[in-house]
Each structure stands twice: as C-alpha cells, then as structure tokens.
C-alpha cells in the first residue's frame, strides 16, 4: 500500500491465485484461479457440473474463504473484514442456486429481508419490495408464500430479493435454470437493463442463450480457469 490507486482504475472484484480445498485437501474445488472484473461488466461463468462455479461465486461474495490466495473488493482484501455481513448487504446481491426463500414469509416479505440491514422504514421497504416484484412481473403474487408459487416464480422472487439493496455486484447461480423460455427471456432483458443502469453482473449458467447475452465469458474446468474471452456481439 504505497500509493492509493485511483478508484476508476481499480477493479471492482479481483481473485488473486485463489485455491480452495475441501475435506482436508482431498477435494480441490478451485486451483490457482486469478481473475478481474471491472465496474459495469456483464460476465458469464460457465463449465461442467462440479467444476467449481458455485465455489468461486461463494469466494467472490465473501461467504467462504480461499485456502490460499486472496479476494479483493474495490482493492480491499475480504480477509480483512471481521464479519463481511455489512459489505454483503451494501454491495452484493445473491441469487442462490436453490433459491432459499423463507417458507413462512410471503413473496413481498422475502424480498424485504435484505432491507432489514438498512435504515429503511417499513413503508419504504414495502414500496421497494412491490417495485421489485413488479420488475420481475410478480405484482399479483406479492402476498403469496413460496409453496403457492411455481418454480419459475420462486426464482424471480429470489432475483427481486437479490436486488433489494441496489447492489453494485450481482452474483447469480443458474438464475434461469428453472425458467421456461418466455420467462427466461424476460429475466435476460431484466439483466440487460440492470447492466445498462451500471450494475456489475456475474452469472453462472448452463444456458448458452444467457451466456451469449453477457459481454465476457469465463470458463472453468476441474477447478481451473481455462478461458476468459470477450463475447463477440452479434447484435
């Protein structure tokens, strides 16, 4: 830390030679992965099942720590955060591979959960939740509990929840994995417009259509980053 880098030049998130072992080193989920994602990028992360995509997403989001190497967010090492909860609530949006909605809460209440860590009042929270549900096309489902919703609808509630605190980085694990093509298309265009508004997106996907919408594709294979290339824009 000799000279502070200007913010514009600083990447949003960086993985530096990250390795992650599980089960006392018997499983190597990630091997020496380095990557940089700048503010405003739209990145797809692809690879076979078990290649380490979710593991990488967890590490970038501060939910897990690398065995060796480091993760930096705006230049700051995540290991320096005692409990990175505040960082997550203010900077990150997560869409989990299995959405993890709270079954006893309504869609609207689920969307509000991350807002509890902000100073928003109850009216503001409710309004924001409604707004987000409208954005994912679920206005009419606001008062339903997850069991009453279709899988695709749950997925969309989970996306709305991830957007609750206007994150600067959205990390999504298979966000369209459970959607039919029409609904998936509406989610794709939601991601497009979020990116146009300046949000940085990193999406894990098996869906070639979604991967093609991103500007850049990272490919993992057996825990190693084997390719990192910009997408050719086909328009």
């Amino acid at each position: 830390m000799t000279k502070p880098t200007p913010a514009e030049a600083m990447p949003l998130v960086e993985a530096i030679r990250v390795t992650r072992h599980f089960v006392d080193g018997q499983v190597t989920a990630l091997k020496d992965v380095s990557l940089t994602i700048d503010e405003g990028e739209y990145v797809a992360l692809v690879g076979q099942s078990g290649c380490g995509k979710s593991t990488l997403l967890n590490l970038l989001g501060g939910l897990d720590s690398p065995t060796t190497g480091s993760i930096r967010f705006r230049g700051r090492d995540l290991a320096d955060f005692g409990d990175p909860a505040r960082f997550r609530s203010s900077q990150l949006g997560f869409v989990f591979q299995s959405f993890h909605l709270i079954s006893v809460l309504t869609a609207e209440q689920n969307v509000q959960m991350p807002m509890f860590e902000t100073t928003m009042g109850s009216a503001a929270r409710k309004e924001r939740a409604r707004e987000l549900l409208a954005r994912v096309g679920l206005t009419h489902r606001a008062r339903h509990r997850p069991q009453k919703l279709s899988v695709g609808e749950r997925q969309r509630v989970a996306i709305a929840r991830a957007l609750a605190n206007r994150p600067s980085l959205l990390l999504a694990d298979e966000p369209t994995g459970n959607l039919d093509s029409v609904t998936a298309e509406s989610i794709f265009s939601l991601f497009d417009s979020l990116n146009q508004e300046g949000m940085t997106l990193l999406l894990v996907t098996h869906d070639p259509l979604l991967a093609a919408r991103a500007r850049r594709t990272l490919t993992l294979h057996d825990g190693q980053l084997i390719s990192d290339r910009p997408n050719s824009r086909t328009g």
Binding site: L63, L105, Q109
Partner: protein, 379 residues
C-alpha cells in the same frame, strides 16, 4: 436498537409458520407461570391475612410459650396474664385459647376455634352480619365467620357439635375480609377451656400497648419476654413473617416455582434449538444476504421472548381464574383469598421473560455462528 417494530412481523411470521410447536411451547410457559403465580399468590394471601389478623384488632404484642414453633402447641397458665399486665407499657392483656378442631359435620377439617373473653377487643370488634354477641362468659355459644358459615351451611339459631355430643349454639355470623378470620369461629374463652379440658390454660396473650411506635413495641416485647422464662413475646406485625407455617408454605412455593422454571426453560431451550436447527439453511442464507450476527440473535431471541410474553399473559390469566375458582369452593375457600397481588403477577411476568431469555440465548448464539456458505449449498 436492533429490535425495531418491523422486526415483529418477521418474528410473528416465524412463530405462526410453525403453529403446533409455538402453541406447545406457549402452553408450557403458560402452565409454568400459572403454577408459580397462583402458588405464590396463595401464599402471599395467607401472609397478608395473617398480618391483618393482628393489625385489625388493636393487638400490638403477642405472647406465647417460649420455644414453641407452632402457635397452637403453645400452652401457658392463664394466671400469667396478671404478671404481664404489670410490665411497663402494657395497657391491656387478653388471654386466648386457639384450638384446631375437625368437625364431624360436613367433614370440616382443621377449623380454627378462637376462645376469647367476650369483653376482649377481639370479640367486641367483630362485625356481626347476623345474630348477636355472646350472652355471658361461659355461654356454650359460637360466632361463626361468614366463609365458614357458608361452607357449613349454618345460620344464627343453628346448633353444631364441636366435639361429638357437645352442642353449641350459633348466635352470630361475622364478616371479615380476612380469610383466616372468616374461616374460623369465636367462642367464649371459658367455654372452650371447659370443652377442651384445659381449664386455666391459654395459647397466648394478646397485649395492647400504651404506645404504638415500632421501636417502643419491640422494646416492650423484649421486656415481656424477660419477665418470665416461660414467655416469648413478639410484635404482632412481625409475627406473620416469622410464623413457621408461612415459612414452610413459602419455601414450598419457591421450590415448586424453581421446578416449574427449570422445566419451562428446558422446554424453551428445546423449542428454540429445534427452531434454529430446522432453519439452518434459512439463517445461513440471511447471513449470506448480509444480516449481521446480532440481527440473527435478535430474531431468535425475539421469537423466544415473544413466546414467553404471550405465555406469561396466558399463565397469569390462568392463575387468576384458578385462584378465583379455589376461593369459590367451600373446601378451599376458607383458606384461599380470591386475589393475586399485582407484585406477584409482575414477578410471574419477569420470570417468563427470563425463561425466554435463558431458553433463547444459546440457540440464538449458535444460530449466529452458522457459516453463511451453508445457505448456498445446493441439494
């Protein structure tokens, strides 16, 4: 301030989402609180009645046989009264013989029979609801307290057997707010002495002092005690607290309370542990979304506290109903006052809060330690 109003909606939703378990825990807490509040309430009622028993009567110092723990086992010669009257500061001395009889009629067990001289303050201050006073110092007559009269179904003019074949006439019924009094009967001292074959024997002397100051009374009690080795004197106001019966009842009530509290907190601990265990993923997910540890703690503690507050309210209402019911029964009504002092209810409430906190702290703490990465694990 982590527990803001909005949080209640999440907590309520969590409790309502698992109705069976919430209700079970709620009833556990309610029963524990009801047991403690009603027991302590009854004991406190006892104490208060015992205290009023002396206070209402202008009796300042009670003199009993030295070394007797129980009032009814005390026995003194009546003649000692003259000696006590000579002690400096004594205005009047009233001898009394207190017996506890079991009447065959209506199976009345443990009826307190108070033998006093008809001209004593204790008798003259009786508020007659019906009938009249004693006609002479040896009359085979009784004046019965209202609760006892109701339990036995007697009125002035009735005749009762105090001991089989020994008939006494009910001449009056008196009212008293005091359960002890109201559940007992008065009889002329000499008549009771003859009946019990305890002529010239008394249980105690009630002393009226010239001055009512607590320090003066304490000094007077000491002087009386010192005047004869057979005597033990106590300021009447302090008697209730020192009585063996009250002490036994009190420790019994506390023991029961401790058991109730232990069971209650283990129940709460179990419930909250289950609640956390079941929701491992959910809680980890909330951490992943950015909830701080203390918010997770607040949520779990909030749930256990809300359960205990609701449990306390239900428990206190239950205790209230129970004590009212006991007071209305002829068998227990002689002993139980219908009201629970506010202080005891407050204690019950605090106790329930403690149950909620004790039962919630460990589960809340372990919930807050869950690794957020669990929330992302895909099944």
């Amino acid at each position: 301030m982590i527990l803001r109003m909005w949080f209640i909606s999440v907590i309520l939703a969590n409790l309502r989402g698992r109705p069976a378990r919430s209700l079970l825990t709620l009833s556990g807490i309610a029963i524990a609180v009801a047991a403690v509040v009603s027991l302590l309430g009854v004991v406190r009622g006892f104490e208060r009645s015992l205290l009023e028993l002396y206070q209402g009567r202008g009796i300042d110092v009670m003199v009993q046989q030295a070394g007797r723990l129980q009032m009814t086992s005390s026995s003194l010669p009546e003649s000692l009264g003259e000696q006590i009257a000579k002690v400096e500061g004594v205005a009047a001395v009233h001898p009394a013989l207190i017996e506890v009889l079991s009447l065959l009629q209506d199976d009345m067990m443990g009826v307190v029979v108070q033998g006093w001289q008809p001209e004593s303050t204790a008798v003259r201050q009786l508020k007659l609801a019906a009938g009249q006073a004693f006609t002479d110092p040896q009359a085979r007559q009784v004046i019965v307290g209202q609760r006892l009269a109701a339990a036995m179904g007697v009125q002035p003019g009735a005749s009762i057997d105090l001991i089989e074949g020994e008939k006494f006439e009910v001449v009056g019924v008196f009212e008293s707010n005091n359960v002890f009094d109201s559940g007992s009967m008065f009889i002329p001292l000499q008549a009771l002495q003859q009946l019990m074959l305890r002529e010239d024997e008394v249980t105690m002397f009630a002393v009226v002092a010239r001055e009512r100051d607590p320090d003066v009374l304490r000094a007077l009690a000491e002087r009386i005690g010192a005047s004869d080795s057979k005597l033990e004197a106590q300021v009447a106001d302090e008697m209730a607290q020192k009585s063996t019966e009250i002490r036994v009842a009190r420790s019994f009530a506390w023991l029961t309370s401790v058991i109730a509290v232990s069971i209650g907190s283990v129940g709460m601990l179990n419930t909250m542990m289950m609640a956390v265990f079941e929701r491992t993923r959910e809680i980890a997910m909330l951490r992943a979304l950015g909830w701080r540890r203390r918010r997770v703690i607040a949520m779990v503690l909030g749930e256990s506290t809300l359960l205990s507050i609701l449990g306390a309210v239900i428990g206190i209402v239950l205790a209230f109903v129970l004590v009212r019911f006991l007071a209305s029964l002829p068998a227990s009504g002689r002993l139980v006052e219908g009201d629970i002092p506010f202080q005891i209810m407050a204690q019950g409430f605090v106790l329930a809060l403690l149950l909620g906190l004790i039962g919630g702290v460990y589960p809340a703490w372990s919930a807050s330690r869950l690794a957020p990465v669990e929330g992302l694990r895909h099944d």
